[in-house]
Structure formats: structure tokens, C-alpha cells
Symmetry: C2
Subunit: 410 residues, 2 copies
């Protein structure tokens, strides 16, 4: 598992305190990379704002890093920097640490949060676009040849592209020339984002395209599906290393939310009819994909490399049924707070990661159970009032709240 | 020329102190609209920063508006607001004034300025994206049905799309489905912006697409060519109403720069071989197009309406030759500070504005002469040291400065 010394790299993990960033940092450190986390802890501050929190008892960064060193003898660096705001400080750290690669998780990543109010829309746009632009600008400014690995989302594609298998970032099209000939072209997949958050990821793509073209920055953009699961091999080593588990209406993502609802005896809330099909990936595969992306950097003059980072697709209602069968939890159909088609199909290519050696962790009962156990273990920490999805996409829509009734106890 | 009372609208002109915004404000006011300018005067501050300025003696906003009232009896309102920063104030003005339409010119619009340094790149991204997003967010937040007319650029298309006539915003493509069928789709034209500035305009398009889809905001996006000329019927009424004329290496756009260089006896500087083809429009047509865009608002559920706002295309070297023939000015070929193809063709559709009644002002000798006269009249105000294009697209490139030699005097 451990890298050859020559393969060991200095890697910055931006957003390394978050749900994906923390286990990724540990994994990269564990296999022998020299990891430095940069995070402004904004996600923890948002917990304060929402009066919600991780179901699992996550530790402060200091404790996390101490525990990691105690367990493995490895050190991970940490800087508290807002990469959207503190450009000069960020650049200075790049110049002094000279990373080989930067993994960029540091964005506001909740679609419902991005739709909560004008303030939240504006924060998401301002934070995400300036964060990504600052990273690119600083890489060029530093004069170093740094490989940027960015976490994008499957959501940029838009769901339900009639009958088409979603390619990995680029689409083959045929267009007509003035003389009437038809020519084949490959274009960046035309995006159709479903929320202000997803829109910022579409806009990120244009930042990558431009800085790659103008400055030959090496960039890998990972279009990730919805991540489920909580722990990875590394976060299981010590309870102080535990990963966050979001269950509130804004940050809780669909599968984890179902598992948690079942575990605490809250109805499994399906938005609308649950006809939407989504792409999924387990957190263990996320960390492995980032490892593979770092090991397979594009060449200097190559265009932006785009991978679909997902392993399977499921219809939301099927997942609800599965979780219900597994746990005995009851399903509640609530109004969909999002503005989207009631039903869609989704076929996605993910050949690139499979070709690089990804061996997917699939969603079978055993794994689901593992998460249910985590949810069950910490169920007493749940604040049930935070579970409903209260953000709506327009003022006219209703939140995704189940009809008032007695909640069954676990 | 005057509107029927029933057609008169309350119109906000964001960026109404600028090169396009000022004559547009006067024109809209002149034909009977109720105009309110919002501008943070950042363009004048950039003049201070660059130690450059308009060749023409533009007056402070107070004097401009006084002169307008004296000449026409019409009042134009003015608020000094940074729309990228002062969201609450901006929203408040929308709520109290209740505009029918907002014309949005308020962005940093120079490609060379956007490439000057990391600070300038970051300012352009931050200013332009937050400005456009705040406008959209505030329109939705206000609950009013406001038609947004935005000034985009032809530059988003990228130059040199092999043999294809550039459509108005949307491209017909054929894609292959999983079952092997080929289906026709219409997509947002895949952009290929040529600078950080142009990139922000591509990103703006995604903001429009999203807010139109989610909130049914009525939006017209005008993909404008390079504007030339200085004055319009309204700005000619009184010298205090004169429009700005940028001639410096950052803000001077290609045709106006040539005319001015010829007028002051500075070599006509062609970047590279001048093989690039560009789209142009006269400032008089800009103001008329905005008038037409306002009169032809899309319906509430209609997608974003995109017009190509240009009237003719020319190869840069041909323009240099034309200006040289007209004025006797000498041409200097300098290194191209931009990163772009040395040569490209450009064929552009502009049927939409023609169908709405635009009668183009074309670039013939007479008109060029008019601008040369303006440039000649104020030639004594020119600071020759500000003429060369000093911003480069990458650190490796050389600025567009002519070889040192005696400048011929006019
Ligand atoms: N969780 C998912 O299901 C999922 C799915 C697809 C894509 N992604 C993407 O993966 C990335 C990570 O997601 P996550 O679930 O770990 O989110 P998260 O919110 O748990 O983690 C993001 C981290 O970035 C930090 N951060 C945000 N803005 C910052 C700034 N300006 N400066 C410094 N740090 C900043 C936060 O404090 C947080 O620790 C995101 O970009 C997200 O869009 C996540
Ligand atoms: N001039 C051209 O040749 C040309 C060509 C194509 C498109 N355009 C577009 O037309 C628009 C206007 O161009 P212009 O040549 O008049 O530029 P300009 O710089 O002369 O005018 C822009 C005005 O907007 C104001 N502004 C900028 N940011 C602002 C903010 N955050 N808040 C409030 N005001 C702000 C500036 O002070 C300035 O007065 C721009 O969006 C530009 O991209 C211009």
C-alpha cells in the first residue's frame, strides 16, 4: 500500500477538515504523501449558524492531527486560511511549501444551503468562485508546476439528458459549417446545473478551461456523485479520527439521510415521488479516486482531464425502499423543495477510473448496514428538528417536511 | 422619435457613467424613458490608478446630469453604488424605484487590464461575477418582474470556429444516444474565452441560464462586438455631455486606438500580423440596440434571449491599412501581448437586431473621419507614454510596444 519514496509527493488538501477532505488527507498521508491541510473551518461555523452538527463526534483539528500522529507516526500540516479571501497568505504558503499537487475541496457544497436566502446564494457564489479562481491564480503566480485536482459534481451535467450516456466531461457533437458540411467537434459538456451551488461548479469548469489554455496549468476535474458512508480504513483507526456525518436538511445527502432517518426512527423522507435517478460513490472510493487522480496527472499541454467519480446510479425511491426493507423504517413522501423534473434516467460513463484500477465499493446490504450502525451508535446525538429540508428553490415552493405525526422511537 | 407615454419605462442603467452606459442613458432618456444611473465610478478610479484618462474631457456626473437637464428639460437619477459589494443598498433602490428594466453595463471590461497582474485578474473575476449575480439575486429578491438587459461580448464565442457562422447564442448540434440514434439539440454555444475578462462573460451566461430556468427572470444578453466611435446624437448636444474616449494600452479598443494613434502622430500599432478578424459596432448603434432590446423583452417563461450586437467584421490589419490610407499614419507591427491564433476568420449572424429594425451605421470613410476629428481635436490631451499595450497574457510574452524611434509629429 505504501508508495515508493520517489512517488511520494507534497500535497495540499484545501477543505481538508470537511467530509471528503478529512478522510482524503488521512489516506494520502497513510500511503506516504506529505500532506498539508488548508481550511478556514467555515463548515464548522455553518454548523453553528444552522444550530446543527455532525451526528458523529468530530474532534477539533488539533486533536485530529495529534491522534493521527499517535496512531501512525505521520504528521499532517495545517493552516487556517480562507482561500477565497486571504490570497496573499495562501500564495505565501504555496511558495514556502512548494506542493506538487493541490486537491481542492474547499467550496460551499450544499445545494439546499445555497438556495436558503439571497445571503446564502451570494455567499456560495462569492466563496466558491473566488476560492477556485484564487487557487488557479496562485498556481500561475507561484511559477510552480502544480497539478490541481478539483472536486466537481455530477450535478453539472443536469439530470435526464434524453437517452444519452453522460460522457466524462466532453461531448462529441456534429455541427454544420457555412458550406453545409457537417463536422465532428468535441466540446465541454453543455451544463444544466440544478441549484446555485451546482451552477458555481459549472462556472468553475470555465475557470479550469481558461487557465489550462492560457497558462498550461495541469488540472484534473472530478465530477463526483453523491458520497455516502462515513468512515474509511484510516478514520476507523481511532474514534478521534472519526469523519463527519451530516444529517440535517441542508447538508445531509440523500442516502446518508435515509440511513440516519431509519436509525433514529424518523420517517424516511422522499422528496416528490422519488423518481430522480442519482449517481453515488462510497467515501472509501472517493479517497481512492483522489489517490489515482494524483498518480495520473495530465501532461503540461494536455487539456483539462475530467473523470466521472461515481460507481453506481439509483433511483431515489428505490433507495428509500431498500433502506426501509433493511431497517423497517417507514417512508414519507413529502413535497419536493427543489425545482427539477419529477423523474429522470441517468446513464453515466465511468470508464476512466475503472481503467486506472478503481475497484468499486458497491452499495450492498452489508455496507448499508455498516452506516446504519454508525447512525445507530450516535442516534442519541441527533436533533430531530434539524432533519427536515427547509430550504426551497423558489419562494412559492413548500419545504420537504413530513405531515405532523408521532415519531416512532427506535 | 419619442415614445408613446404607455411605452415609457423606468430603466436602471448600471454602469451608466461608462463609455457605452453614458450615451445609452442619454438616448433612453431622450426618447422618453425614465432613467436612473447606478455607477460606483470605478472606471474613473482605474483612470487614476493607470495614470491615464479619457482623451475627451468628460465631466463629473453632477455636471453631466445638469447639462442634460439644461439641454432637454429631462432629469436622470443617479446613485453611487457598488453593485458587486453593496447588495442591500442596491436592493433598497430597486424596491423603492421599481424599475421595469435594468440595463447592466457595470463590469470591468478591459481584457488587457484583466491580465495585468494577479490582483487585476482577481478584481475582474470578483467584481464581474458578484455584480452580475447580485443583479439577478436582487431581481428575484425584490419579487418584481424586471427585464434584465446585459452587455456581453462577441469574445465569448472564441474566434475562429472552423467554417461555422457564429449563431446568436445557441448552437444546433447532433448527438448520439445510447441506442445509436442521432438527435438534434440546441445548446448554449460552447464558449472559448480569450482572457480573464472574457471568461467572466462566459460565466455570466451560466448565471443567466440558471436564474432564467429557476426563477423565470426575463433576460436579454447582448453579445456585443468592439464598439468604435465616440459620440451619439445626444452626447453631441453640449460639450459637457461628451462621451469618454479611451486610448491607453489597456482600455483603448482596436479601431479607436488606431484612429487616435493616427491623429496624434503615433505609429498605428498592429499586434502580431493583424490577422485576427473582429466584429464591430458603432456607439450610435449600441444605444439603438439597447433601445430595441428593451422594447422586445422575452416572455416570462422564455429562455434567455441572445442577440449578436455587431454590424460588421474586419481583419485588424485591414483596418490599420484603412486608417493609414485615410490619415497618412504609419503602421508598426509589434509583438502580440495576447495568447491567440495569429489569424482567424469570423462569420457572425446578426439577423435578430436587423429583424427588429436596426439600420447599421457602417464603417465608411466619412465616419472614420468624424472620429479622427474628435481624436485630432483633443490630441493635445494625449499622454503618449500611455499608448503602448503593456499587459501581457503570460509572464513569457512581450508587451505590444513599437521599436524605439522618433515619433513623427502630426
Ligand atoms: N459530499 C458529497 O456528496 C459531494 C458530492 C459531489 C461533490 N462534492 C464536492 O466535494 C467537495 C468537498 O465536499 P464535502 O462534502 O467534503 O464538503 P464539506 O463542506 O464537508 O467540506 C468542505 C470544506 O472546505 C472548507 N472550505 C469552504 N470554503 C473555504 C474557503 N473559502 N477557504 C478554506 N476552506 C474552505 C470547509 O470549512 C470544509 O471543511 C466539495 O467541493 C463538494 O462540492 C461533494
Ligand atoms: N466598449 C466595448 O467595445 C465593449 C464591447 C463589448 C462589450 N462591452 C461591454 O459593455 C459594457 C460596458 O462597456 P464600456 O466600454 O462602457 O465600459 P466602461 O468601463 O467604460 O463602463 C463600465 C461602467 O461600469 C461601472 N462599474 C464597474 N463595476 C461596477 C460596480 N461593481 N458597481 C457599479 N458600477 C460599476 C464603471 O464605473 C463604468 O462606469 C461592459 O460590460 C463591457 O463588457 C463593451
Amino acid at each position: 500500500m505504501n508508495l515508493e519514496k520517489s512517488q511520494s509527493k507534497k500535497i495540499f488538501v484545501l477543505g481538508g477538515d470537511g467530509f471528503c477532505g478529512w478522510p482524503t488527507s488521512l489516506h494520502l498521508s497513510n500511503i506516504g504523501h506529505d500532506v498539508v491541510i488548508i481550511d478556514n473551518l467555515s463548515r464548522r461555523n455553518i454548523d453553528n449558524e444552522l444550530e446543527a452538527g455532525s451526528l458523529t463526534p468530530i474532534q477539533p483539528m488539533g486533536t485530529r492531527l495529534e491522534a493521527w500522529e499517535e496512531n501512525t507516526g505521520k504528521k499532517i500540516g495545517f493552516y487556517n486560511i480562507d482561500i477565497a479571501e486571504d490570497y496573499d497568505q495562501f500564495l505565501q504558503v504555496i511558495q514556502s511549501e512548494q506542493p506538487d499537487a493541490i486537491v481542492h475541496f474547499a467550496e460551499q457544497r450544499s445545494a439546499p444551503y445555497s438556495m436558503k436566502s439571497p445571503k446564502h446564494k451570494r455567499y456560495t457564489v462569492n466563496n466558491n468562485l473566488n476560492a477556485t479562481h484564487n487557487v488557479l491564480c496562485a498556481i500561475v503566480d507561484s511559477g510552480l508546476d502544480i497539478h490541481l485536482v478539483h472536486l466537481g459534481t455530477m450535478g453539472v451535467y443536469g439530470y435526464g439528458t434524453a437517452g444519452m450516456k453522460i460522457p466524462e466531461g466532453y461531448l462529441d457533437v456534429e455541427v454544420q459549417t457555412e458550406s453545409g458540411d457537417r463536422v465532428e467537434q468535441q466540446i465541454l459538456y453543455p451544463t444544466n446545473p440544478g441549484s446555485v451551488y451546482h451552477m458555481t461548479k459549472s462556472q468553475d469548469q470555465l475557470l479550469f478551461q481558461y487557465y489550462n489554455k492560457n497558462d498550461s496549468v495541469r488540472i484534473t476535474d472530478l465530477h463526483q456523485g453523491i458520497v455516502w458512508g462515513t468512515n474509511t480504513e484510516e478514520t476507523k483507526m481511532d474514534e478521534r479520527l472519526i469523519n463527519r456525518f451530516d444529517y440535517d436538511g441542508d447538508y445531509g445527502t440523500v442516502l446518508n439521510r435515509f440511513l440516519m432517518q431509519a436509525a433514529v426512527g424518523y420517517p424516511i423522507t422522499v422528496h416528490g415521488t422519488g423518481g430522480q435517478t442519482r449517481a453515488f460513490i462510497h467515501i472509501q472510493d472517493t479517497v481512492r479516486c483522489v489517490e489515482l487522480a494524483i498518480a495520473n496527472a495530465p501532461a503540461r499541454e494536455e487539456r483539462v482531464m475530467i473523470f466521472n467519480q461515481m460507481t453506481e446510479t439509483h433511483r431515489v425511491n428505490d433507495l428509500a425502499q431498500l433502506v426501509s426493507k433493511l431497517t423497517g423504517g417507514e417512508i414519507a413522501y413529502v413535497s419536493n423543495p427543489r425545482k427539477e423534473a419529477a423523474k429522470n434516467d441517468l446513464h453515466v460513463k465511468n470508464d476512466l477510473f475503472l481503467s486506472k484500477g478503481l475497484n468499486p465499493t458497491t452499495l450492498d446490504n452489508g455496507l448499508l448496514q455498516e452506516v446504519t450502525e454508525v447512525a445507530g451508535k450516535y442516534a442519541h446525538r441527533a436533533d430531530h428538528s434539524k432533519i427536515p429540508a427547509t430550504s426551497t428553490w423558489t419562494k412559492e415552493q413548500k419545504p420537504g417536511v413530513p405531515e405532523a405525526k408521532e415519531e416512532s422511537s427506535v
